[in-house]
Symmetry: C2
Subunit: 225 residues, 2 copies
């Protein structure tokens, strides 16, 4: 089955494309896109599909149909469903980190914590179903996926420390580091629970999380001494 965006090497090998002769019922409109545009289109579609549905509920058949391309061509860009999923997840993860990083580091600490949590919860709630199924297991156990999750944790905690009044004194302090990891665990568990069964408004959850953070910061001299 021919399509406009076969990579150059394969395109050079194929016969000149004549008119399709597939029976009318099987004919679907095909859209010519260059490689980058096609990849971007598939990623966008994957991000949407995997955000709305769980990994197992998304099929390559559906994705190919929605993208109006053949399954074969989809597999050319992403050899497996997992590859497409990981690529989409990586983009969602990068967007999450970017949104949290957009919070100015020179805000007063309490405002900065609240604004960072706002950005985090905004983004997560757009992908709530996918977030819960990802964090509660399933595809989350894949080493590459686990690496993406761990990368988000690391980048968010590094950002949290950037410009923080604690940083110079506490860089490399193992108690402080483990307290930051624990705090991320607090936020993740509370957020997973909230996404699965939102009994609080987003603002109530944000306030709760930032109050807990401030309580920990207040107790810090005691904790790290």
């Amino acid at each position: 089955m021919y399509s406009g965006d076969v990579p150059p090497v394969r395109r050079a090998l194929r016969r000149p494309a004549g008119p399709k002769t597939a029976p009318k019922g099987q004919r679907r409109p095909r859209v010519r896109l260059d490689n980058d545009a096609r990849r971007a289109q598939l990623l966008l579609l994957a991000k949407k599909s995997f955000s709305d549905r769980s990994y197992d509920d998304v099929s390559i058949d559906d994705l190919a149909r929605e993208a109006k391309i053949s399954k074969g061509l989809l597999y050319h860009y992403f050899p497996t469903k997992r590859d497409l999923y990981v690529a989409g997840l990586r983009e969602i993860a990068d967007e999450l980190v970017d949104r949290v990083h957009a919070v100015p580091v020179d805000l007063p600490p309490a405002d900065r914590v609240r604004a960072g949590l706002d950005a985090y919860l905004d983004h997560i709630s757009q992908h709530a179903r996918a977030f819960v199924s990802l964090m509660r297991g399933g595809i989350g156990s894949d080493p590459e996926v686990a690496g993406v999750i761990e990368g988000v944790r690391r980048r968010l905690s590094e950002r949290f420390l950037e410009g923080s009044p604690f940083r110079p004194a506490l860089a490399g302090n193992p108690k402080f580091e483990i307290a930051i990891r624990g705090w991320i665990g607090f936020v993740e568990h509370a957020t997973i629970d909230w996404c699965a069964d939102p009994k609080l408004t987003r603002e109530e959850l944000r306030d709760l999380l930032s109050q807990v953070m401030l309580a920990i910061i207040t107790a810090l001299p005691q904790i790290i001494r």
Copy 2:
């Protein structure tokens, strides 16, 4: 290959056991055990093996050899490696909950938190490798395994509330419930990190976790208002 603890139905069907004729090198001593004792023996062995090594590094061949039984007989008790793993994990989980439950509820709150954390960390550090590989993915994504983990969280948080001065006023308060879930997330993440790379002593980690808990308790009126 015959063995003393074939279940009664199969035992009735088999021919009278004569002397083994296997070549000398292949002969291994067999131990007759009744069903319950054999099951208990296999569970004990599984708990030890899965605590020392990751799920993927434990083989049924090794387990059968260590138990001095045939692979076939092992599969009679536990049809798959996963079944044996889940059964072992359930026992480790029950022991964890029992150890934390052994802490008297009438201790002063700060002492109770510390004693509960001592029991938790003691037990986890005995199974550190298994705990890290379980919580970081792999077999942890299995729905039954995820159910065991979730059961531990639920029972530990219920126990934490039992006899707590907060309980009557806060039962069913969604902010309080989510704070308890978050706290469990804090403990889990910090403990996973610590097991993987122990930069603190167990006592230092326990003190850090209990100080964070007390900081949250102190901030509670503000958090739940």
